[in-house]
């Protein structure tokens, strides 16, 4: 033994990690980092559509509120799980679906349902406001925490109820003479949720025609 073990260990240790760094970090970046939108040759529709500013702001609230810890945004392929059967999408999601996301929030838990296509499944903004204000209103038995802090309870003004006030009944109704209105944050978040649609026809993930209505 005439040499120190140091260099050998150092080299071996760094090379083993280098292998997966190349394989699982650099190579996917090369393969997927430059995906672009796809234009349908027949309809000239472009998928995935870019997100409007309002919705892009909402994505930041989605991140900040930690929605990703209970909701996934990925639809698994046919025959693998029941994502399609549950109506969470009309096709599986693929890499191209996420090219506009600043933070890709695929999620790892389904404490709540998948939201990949929530904008398509539930396009009614009023539903989203009431659900966020207190999930028990729209989904009794849900364990989603109420997000009342995204709303403002205020006295009804002289000109009567605001047009954007939530329709709340029974136990959920605010005190008499007051109304619940969404804050700017709630509006942006709902704009984001309503923008969530990943069902455009893509060459690598075609929508099955009979299911596409």
């Amino acid at each position: 033994m005439t040499m120190s073990y140091g260099p050998l260990l150092f080299l071996g240790i760094l090379l083993t990690l280098a292998s997966s760094w190349v394989g699982l970090v650099l190579m996917p970046h090369r393969q997927l980092g430059s995906l672009t939108q796809h234009t349908d040759t027949n309809t000239a529709a472009i998928f995935p559509a870019a997100r409007a500013g309002e919705a892009q702001q909402g994505a930041e609230h989605y991140r900040s509120l930690g929605c990703v810890y209970c909701h996934t945004q990925q639809v698994r392929p046919e025959g693998y799980g029941s994502d399609l059967e549950r109506g969470w999408g009309r096709r599986r999601t693929v890499s191209r679906d996420y090219i506009h996301d600043r933070t890709v929030m695929l999620g790892t838990m389904r404490t709540g349902p998948d939201l990949t296509n929530i904008g398509e499944r539930q396009s009614d903004a009023a539903w989203h406001y009431r659900h966020l204000y207190n999930p028990q209103i729209t989904s009794p038995g849900s364990i989603m925490p109420p997000h009342a802090f995204l709303f403002e309870t205020r006295a009804i003004g002289p000109s009567g109820r605001s047009t954007n006030a939530l329709v709340l009944e029974g136990a959920f109704a605010p005190p008499a003479g007051t109304e619940v209105v969404p804050t700017r944050r709630a509006e942006q978040l709902v704009a984001y949720l309503r923008s969530l649609k990943s069902s455009g026809d893509l060459p690598e993930a075609p929508v099955k025609k009979e299911e596409a209505k």
Partner: protein, 508 residues
């Protein structure tokens, strides 16, 4: 083993060692010029920095446990503490993960790792003051990060939630610690390497790379699209496999032989275990994305690598089992051995569960369920945290030169956390599996699946409370030990410090 004179150690580096140790002129050839230090001297040199890491780690453990209880209650009683936005479920859950991973587990790891490295290198810790300063910065980083998460600045990237303004502080203090571990290693008086040192060196070299890559590619200059998910899980899985696991295994390989006074069964197997872990573990990460929107080749590679993990895991299990054979009874007498063996067994179980849930057919069921949460706790707690507890039971009396004040608290700690974690992992694994089966059956309403999980989630809160009881008992015992450090000199009870359990028992 003919030892010729070694490459001369750098004089600048050697100047960091206490005079008589670093002088080297009297050093024999065997040690390459630096004399081996006595165990007591090594322990004393580690006292301040290692205590700082342990104590701040334990502070974060208590904070993290309380956050965990709040998060757990919120999951079955969503209105609990619902008025405060900063205590929302996602914030609390995320703050829990980051306090226990970066605040508790990583800090205790560093403490154990520094002490082990000094003991195996047979030198006192060079410039302990520097390490202490690194510790203070590290804690500053964790505090800023956790407050940022509670304020809603979380990045929402799992295991990397700390906001961008906190992570550089962590990275710098971490790099300082890593460099110092390597400096300690370079100065070693014992030329030969024990397997624990392989693991420790690997861990300190791997982690900055992992953390640096993830920070740059996800936060500073985010890559586009699902590549983020690939980087995320390459990092998050490797934190477990290439940072915590090596330190846990390094501790097991050191403490079992030390406590029972018997060398490891097969040194050869332990080296095989190291290199197979190094080769396969870092390819595992993509099994968190099975069925996801990534190219199939990536996921397949990870599934294959996950199955290959059977080699290091079985190697380690066989080796530990045969080392312990005939000595299991000593777990009753040694708190260290008790916790470490519990951890070693859990390592095998956690790894086998991990291999199984990486398979496509199993992942189809368990992927998005509480099964994953149970698995994470089996690995991080039943394996890693238990091993760290065991290591602290060994190290703390030696660096403080005081005995553990209360055997009762040791028992309360062990049984609280042992029962707690079993009650956590077993039902949650089962529940996750059933939950997944129900989710995959489209005829069952989603809300009915949610309702099904409720009783199990309440049981999880009970398990969490048991863990808290154990943690409080341990922290109480440690606090008592510290009080003793400041008491006027008292004739030391020699039980641990000289290893003479017999004498004391006979005298009583």
């Amino acid at each position: 083993m003919s030892h010729q004179s070694q490459t001369p150690r750098s004089q600048t580096l050697r100047a960091l060692l206490p005079g008589d140790v670093g002088a080297g002129s009297g050093g024999d050839v065997q040690t390459g010029g630096v004399q081996k230090a006595a165990l007591a001297e090594i322990d004393a040199s580690c006292r301040v920095p290692v205590l700082f890491f342990f104590l701040s780690g334990l502070g974060w453990l208590i904070a993290g446990s309380l956050l965990a209880i709040v998060a757990s209650i919120k999951l079955h009683s969503p209105g609990f503490l619902g008025a405060w936005e900063w205590l929302g479920f996602a914030n609390v859950r995320t703050a829990h993960l980051n306090t226990v991973i970066y605040g508790f587990a990583s800090q205790v790891s560093v403490g154990v790792s520094l002490w082990l490295m000094c003991r195996l290198c047979r030198i006192p810790l060079p410039a302990p003051g520097l390490v202490t300063v690194a510790n203070l910065f590290y804690n500053l980083g964790v505090t800023v990060g956790v407050v940022g998460i509670l304020r809603g600045d979380s990045t929402a990237i799992e295991w990397l939630e700390m906001p961008r303004y906190a992570t550089p502080i962590l990275f710098v203090s971490y790099a300082l610690i890593a460099v110092w571990t390597i400096v300690t290693f370079r100065l070693r008086a014992e030329r030969h390497l024990y397997v624990s040192q392989w693991y420790l060196l690997a861990a300190v070299l791997w982690f900055p790379w992992l953390y640096g890559t993830a920070q740059v590619m996800l936060l500073l200059e985010p890559v586009r699209g699902v590549v983020q998910a690939a980087v995320n899980w390459w990092f998050a899985h490797n934190v477990l496999g290439l940072w915590f696991t090596p330190i846990g295994l390094a501790s097991i390989y050191y403490f079992i032989p030390k406590v029972i006074g018997r060398p490891i069964h097969s040194y050869y197997l332990s080296v095989l275990g190291f290199w197979s872990l190094a080769l396969f573990y870092n390819w595992n990460g993509m099994h968190h994305l099975v069925g996801g929107p990534l190219p199939a080749w990536m996921i397949t590679i990870s599934i294959v690598a996950s199955v290959m993990m059977l080699i290091p895991v079985i190697t380690v299990a066989i080796n530990h089992h045969f080392t312990m054979l005939g000595h299991f009874g000593k777990m009753r007498q040694s708190p260290t051995l008790r916790f470490i063996v519990f951890g070693a067994v859990s390592y095998t179980l956690a790894s086998l569960q991990g291999v199984a849930s990486a398979l496509r057919s199993v992942s189809e069921v368990t992927h998005f369920t509480h099964h994953t949460i149970a698995h994470a706790h089996l690995g991080m707690y039943a394996f890693f945290t238990m091993v760290m507890f065991g290591a602290m039971y060994y190290i703390l009396p030696r660096i403080t030169q005081r005995e553990w004040p209360s055997n009762g608290l040791i028992s309360l700690h062990f049984w609280g956390v042992a029962l707690g974690i079993v009650l956590y992992v077993v039902p949650m694994s089962l529940m996750g599996f059933l939950q997944g089966t129900k989710l995959n059956d489209p005829t069952i309403r989603f809300l009915d699946v949610v309702q099904f999980t409720l009783p199990w989630l309440k049981l999880r809160t009970v398990a969490g409370l048991l863990l808290v009881v154990g943690h409080v008992a341990f922290v109480g015992n440690v606090a008592w030990l510290l009080v003793r450090m400041f008491e006027p000199y008292r004739k030391p009870v020699v039980r641990i410090l000289t290893g003479e359990a017999e004498t004391l028992a006979a005298g009583k």
